[in-house]
């Protein structure tokens, strides 16, 4: 499967990552599966809940609070995800993936990314190096959860 995404969406993800640096940014990619490809039609930027420590700890506690923060972790409030999904469904769209940034870190999924992922959806990661957006990549979790596989990205207008 491949991910089809418009240049304006790529630009929006880059700008979001740069704006939130040095913290991780995150958002949802909405679209549809068309002819075996996931096609992104809209983006929904989502606040990184790790910036609200009390609520974030309720939703998904940190394993190493001394070494984890919004600088290297993102979290989306499930109520917010459910709201966006319901709104999208009303417009005939579905969640086809999620994006987040890695400040000063490669655009490759971490073990933490792997442990918290589900199959089929695309995980787009953008590297933000010293505040500047750099390369990005899309990844899909393998069916047996053992690893991510790189997914081809087709950028269009």
């Amino acid at each position: 499967m491949e991910l089809r995404i418009r240049q304006k969406h790529v630009d929006a993800i880059r700008q979001h990552g740069a704006r939130d640096y040095p913290n991780e940014c995150c958002g949802i990619m909405l679209g549809r599966e068309v002819d075996g490809a996931k096609v992104v039609r809209e983006l929904a930027p989502i606040p990184n809940l790790r910036q609200e420590q009390a609520r974030a700890e309720e939703v998904l506690p940190l394993a190493e609070p001394g070494r984890e923060s919004e600088r290297n972790r993102f979290l989306m409030d499930p109520k917010e995800v459910a709201r966006v999904e319901a709104e999208a469904r009303a417009h005939g769209l579905d969640i086809v993936g999620y994006y987040h940034s890695h400040p000063d870190h490669p655009a490759r999924p971490s073990e933490y990314d792997r442990e918290h992922a589900w199959p089929w959806v695309s995980y787009v990661i953008i590297r933000i190096e010293e505040g500047k957006p750099r390369d990005y990549a899309s990844w899909v979790l393998s069916d047996d959860r053992s690893q991510f596989e790189s997914e081809p990205i087709i950028e269009g207008d």
Binding site: V59, E64, R67, M76, P119
Partner: protein
């Protein structure tokens, strides 16, 4: 009790593309157990090897998070709706502990 479970998009490949599955059970735990018995491909994405719900998987009973109810012991009524909603989480490596 006969209830419905709403299946999130990433997991529909394991439920023959169906987005809603009807199951029977007295509690949320029983309903989910019935679901993953019928559709065993779901199990590894919902539960750890030790049989616990994965930390990022949230279960709602009629819009209420079961962690604020009786968790998997939460009792069901006919026509209840169970939703499975992930907390989307991730990030890069742990920060170094630097002096």
């Amino acid at each position: 009790m006969a209830v419905k479970v709403i299946i999130p998009t990433p997991l529909r490949q394991y439920t023959e593309k169906r987005d809603t599955i009807e199951v029977k059970g007295g509690t949320v735990g029983e309903a989910l157990s019935g679901l993953t018995t019928q559709y065993s491909g779901l199990r590894k994405h919902l539960y750890t090897d030790e049989g616990k719900l994965r930390s990022f998987v949230n279960v709602y009973l009629n819009d209420e998070d079961i962690r604020y109810l009786q968790k998997d012991q939460t009792k069901l009524n006919d026509n209840d709706v169970i939703s499975i909603v992930p907390s989307i989480a991730g990030g890069s490596s742990p920060l170094c502990i630097c002096n």
